[in-house]
Symmetry: C2
Subunit: 291 residues, 2 copies
């Protein structure tokens, strides 16, 4: 990870720790919420907010609420995915999953609270930056759609209810574009919108993020086969019951596919100029996860 990403990740981590110390949540809820907000993560979605905003001239410090919001949504979805009724996972980010540590009830309530609070953070971010080109309604609509019943929640539902059945490439792309792609697109979009990005540039950034999200998910599929829980900090081999790009195309085929998607994502923002360098570097970072 280069210096830019290390610095951005540290900014986000510090900000999440600050937010976690100030929730005002009552006793039973505060510890699991704090844990979910501050457990070690790659912060790819938060960095994507910053990198997209910086590509149109917004200082990263001004985007921390929006970046934290995307990380809260992601953390919320991980807590839900890990529940006994879903993936029944034991390990996440190098620690016991939230329901194992704090009980299912508090895990579920924490996940809902994290999602809920993310709206407050996006609202705060928008109100502070007040981008004239993009009213709050348009920014929030992207978040609602990314999470909602045609977003990550839809992806998770179809994923869980397709297990064991023969999936085709289209269904797999439906699942991954929603479970991972939708939030990547929203993160990049809201970061750029906070900086009054032009509609044309926004479109390119969204194509970038959509392809990058899919590439990222495929690298995750590869790492689920080739990685270890010690390195990844989460259960591996969980996808054994599930169709993945690795099963469709093999490890080498999946690697190749993710490289192609990274190329497509880079092509989409080729005209955006030097300010988009962080976005380009992020794409290369995703590619290098499994190369």
């Amino acid at each position: 990870m280069n210096e830019y990403f290390a610095a951005r990740r540290a900014l986000i981590d510090d900000y999440l720790a600050k937010l976690a110390s100030r929730t005002g949540a009552p006793r039973p809820l505060a510890p699991p919420i704090t844990r979910a907000m501050t457990s070690a993560g790659k912060r790819v979605r938060g960095i994507l907010v910053l990198a997209a905003g910086e590509s149109v001239g917004v200082k990263p410090e001004k985007l921390l609420d929006a970046a934290a919001a995307m990380e809260l949504i992601h953390a919320s979805s991980l807590v839900l995915d890990d529940l006994p009724a879903m993936d029944d996972a034991q390990l996440r980010r190098g620690a016991p999953t939230l329901h194992r540590e704090f009980g299912e009830d508090l895990a579920i309530l924490s996940a809902v609270a994290l999602l809920n609070h993310s709206y407050g953070l996006v609202v705060k971010s928008h109100a502070a930056l007040n981008p004239r080109q993009w009213p709050m309604a348009q920014v929030l609509k992207r978040v609602v759609d990314a999470v909602g019943w045609d977003g990550t929640i839809a992806g998770e539902a179809v994923d869980l209810h397709s297990e064991g059945s023969t999936l085709d490439f289209d269904t797999l792309e439906f699942i991954h574009s929603r479970k991972t792609g939708a939030l990547f697109v929203a993160a990049a979009a809201i970061g750029a919108m906070m900086g009054n990005v032009s509609p044309a540039a926004l479109g390119r950034i969204e194509v970038f993020a959509k392809n990058l999200g899919l590439a990222f998910q495929i690298t995750d599929d590869v790492l689920d086969v080739t990685g270890s829980p010690e390195v990844l900090g989460k259960d591996v081999g969980k996808d054994a019951q599930r169709l993945t790009f690795v099963k469709l195309a093999g490890v080498d085929g999946a690697r190749k596919l993710s490289e192609e998607l990274v190329e497509t994502s880079l092509a989409a923002i080729a005209n955006l100029g030097p300010a988009a360098k962080p976005l380009r570097d992020l794409a290369l970072l995703v590619r290098d996860r499994v190369s």
Copy 2:
């Protein structure tokens, strides 16, 4: 129920049915979401949005998105409360609880989707009415706070983790003011804000809703003791393990307390004039539930 409430409830029911038919949710998720959105409910929170908006001159038809949003949040919280990890309830609104009918995974995902979509509806409602006095950020902050880690979610967490222990009146009021009061306050507030309510009148309407919410919860406690599942459409006696106002004050004491709270709520809006009649009638309706 008088003609006004029957008419408003029908408006909300029709609108919820329309929304449910258009979610675009994928197959496994659409049936539980539709069920949760359209199962028979009193629609008190939605009616509160309309009555508060009408008290400052907004036509009810213009407030349906905001009203539906409050009903979606409420429906979401019921689905979560009923889960095996929470109250483990069997019956809700006269039918099997969502997790019993569709499985825990889809029940949880549906609840999260309902909450998420409620933000889209509040945003849509505000963007359409565009009240100059109240920016979208201020309206949404009320929703975030009502639901969040010092709102209904906090109330539910403290409620679940106080069972079996000796509670005092203050803790019980903490729980109820959040589990029920917070959303009542938000519903009344956002309805009135959509109509450019003055800050002073908004304050009075919020005091009204806070007291009414507590009164409503106490009548629920009473009905849990005196009602039957056939009439109430949900499990009764679920509160046997839990401290309620009935246990603190007896059935008659709880009745009296709810009457006093209704009086307090009415006093708060005594100066609001004839347009506030629906709010007053709603308070009387709550009082008459157990009288």
